[in-house]
């Protein structure tokens, strides 16, 4: 994971509530056994022409098809973003498309965890603040937003300023690009102790 602190970028507005992971990455791409190459399929059903999906002809109506948003590293969405299926492929698609952060009023639990594992910053702002940023990024695709993880703030050059909450441990991991398994293996002695105490408890053994 790459450490991240200050992110300054234009932002893509997608102000729908309850965007589910089936929309973020449709199931046909879950058949792949690789961990990379999902960026092209992000929002596939919305992003490409429904009549010719196999040719991947862009749907001109969809925001990601607008060349003015190209290279943007921030996605702004509605509440309960990425609800539904646990597929981490959704987080991979967002990250591999090039997004480093998502701003929304709320996120679904499993995605929240998956995003953290992939170094994606999730910024929870109030509905009003999200709406303000959506309006500015819609009106001007070149509108630039700055997310400062260390300071836990979101600002722009039109005087917008909001702070956001983030779990201190998650922040520490993002700032330092830390690998979860490595972190847990610091506690391997505690795991050994737990197992020596409970490993024989047949009521929690899957197979007896």
């Amino acid at each position: 994971m790459i450490p991240i602190n200050v992110l300054t970028s234009t932002a893509v507005p997608l102000p729908l509530p309850n965007i589910d992971t089936d929309q973020i990455l449709p199931k046909q791409f879950l058949k792949r056994i690789e961990r990379t190459g999902y960026g092209d399929f992000l929002f596939f059903n919305w992003r490409y022409n429904l009549d010719m999906p196999e040719h991947m002809e862009p749907n001109a109506e969809f925001v990601l098809s607008n060349p003015e948003y190209k290279g943007s590293k921030i996605l702004i969405a509605g509440k309960n973003f990425a609800c539904g299926s646990s597929r981490e492929h959704a987080a991979w698609a967002i990250s591999q498309y090039g997004f480093l952060a998502v701003i929304a009023p709320s996120f679904a639990d499993i995605f929240f965890s998956n995003a953290g594992k992939n170094g994606i910053i999730l910024v929870r702002l109030s509905e009003e603040d999200v709406e303000t940023l959506v309006q500015r990024s819609t009106a001007n695709p070149h509108h630039v937003i700055t997310i400062n993880l260390e300071a836990q703030t979101v600002t722009d050059d039109q005087g917008f300023s909001a702070s956001f909450e983030i779990d201190p441990f998650r922040k520490y991991c993002l700032l330092n690009g830390l690998d979860d398994i490595g972190l847990t293996l610091r506690h391997v002695d505690s795991i050994d102790t737990f197992e020596s105490k409970h490993g024989g408890d047949f009521w929690i053994a899957p197979k007896t």
């Binding site: 729908l16 199931k27 046909q28 999906p53 646990s86 597929r87 847990t184 391997v188 007896t208």
Partner: protein
Amino acid sequence: MAAKTLFEKVWEQHIVVEPAGEPALIYVDLQLVHEVTSPQAFDGLRLAGRPLRHPERHIATVDHNVPTTSAQDRLVIVDQVSAAQVNALRKNCAEFGIEFFDVQDASQGIVHMIGPELGATKPGMTIVCGDSHTSTHGAFGALAIGIGTSEVEHVMATQTLPQSRPKTFLINVEGELPFGVTAKDIILDIIGRIGTDGATGCVIEYAGSAIRALSMEGRMTICNMSIEAGARAGMIAPDETTFAYVKGRRFAPKGEQWDAAVAHWKTLPTDAGAIYDRELHIDATTLAPAVTWGTSPGMTTTIDASVPTLDDAKSDADRKSYERAFEYMDLKPGTPMEEIRIDTVFLGSCTNGRIEDLRAAAAVVKGHHVAKKVRAMVVPGSQAVKRQAEQEGLDEVFKTAGFEWREPGCSMCLGMNPDILQPGERCASTSNRNFEGRQGRGGRTHLVSPEMAAAAAIAGHFTDIRKWRDIAPTLATEQILVEGGSRS
């Protein structure tokens, strides 16, 4: 000692360590593995040179990708990408020493079906799987959490999972369910009330006389869809119904160990006076058969109602979603639900692909025929369910009525296999998600109970199962006389 909830007891019994300022490290008793969310996790272990810590705490099967058309189609999967994923799991299980139930194994099935069927799912356990419907196993009083692939790898390497402590949410459903109202209708009603993010960050405990009266299968249907309300998990206190279900299964404790296990399990239910962070109380006697009308499980109504109008939307965001859903679903606001015609019926999935579901649907179907132009299919959730149904002659009932009788798998619940809806097709489905494109690009999904799906197949449109009492007189009796508790 302070009074504790079921969740708190299971949680505290599994804390490995709680480092200051970090999430708790929770021990994982069982990880279920399937082909879709595991290949990158196994690769991660190989790349890092890490061993899989406890192969005996893992069980694997194939379900999402497998064709359900015939045994032959499953042994040689035509779709090369699907075949590669299935083969990858075969190879990985052999390499890492995980017990694997292959496509035609007698114990194969949807991963959330086989855990309980094998007796691997037991009260008081912590269970994870790289699949959001892992919440199903909470029906046994286990803490069962759906996770992503990085977490799958984490559990493989450490047999633990870092978790921030969730909030507790009691949903109490009190009273006797009316005729024609099932576990599916209870959970759809709950999601309709609290919304798809109504339980985010929470573990729900379902309690009350209506829940206790349910069989294990009905309880699994409820816990299965906890994730559709955003919950981290759903749980139901273990009781005699639970013990009777687990007893004698392949991985269940035997003899003296059984007695000791039951004694432990009896300590798990929530203590009197324990406090939840949130509570919701529902009167079961007021419930009616549910049908979803939109593109989110929260967009639900009852069969005697109509598609809502924009005036029913509670906020601007809701109004936007409603407009989009009306268009995608091709529905006019205010249309009575009973007037909506269907093209396809899908009976199956980890939500409603169990034997009692098939029995209930067969009781409706018996003596009738699927409506003209309607394609109806039954996909048993597992090999065990398929065998049992065939022993009872349910396959013949369905086939005679014009249903397709399939091999076990996830099938049309998520369309990762050849079973998909065509653009514009409208489906009465017993599955769990009505998202845009979930069952096939452009497909339109309405979630219902097995009874309601069966009745819709015959009528050709949604129809109120409560009016079928005289037409299907066997329904009431057959449903109640099910082993291990009444279905209601």
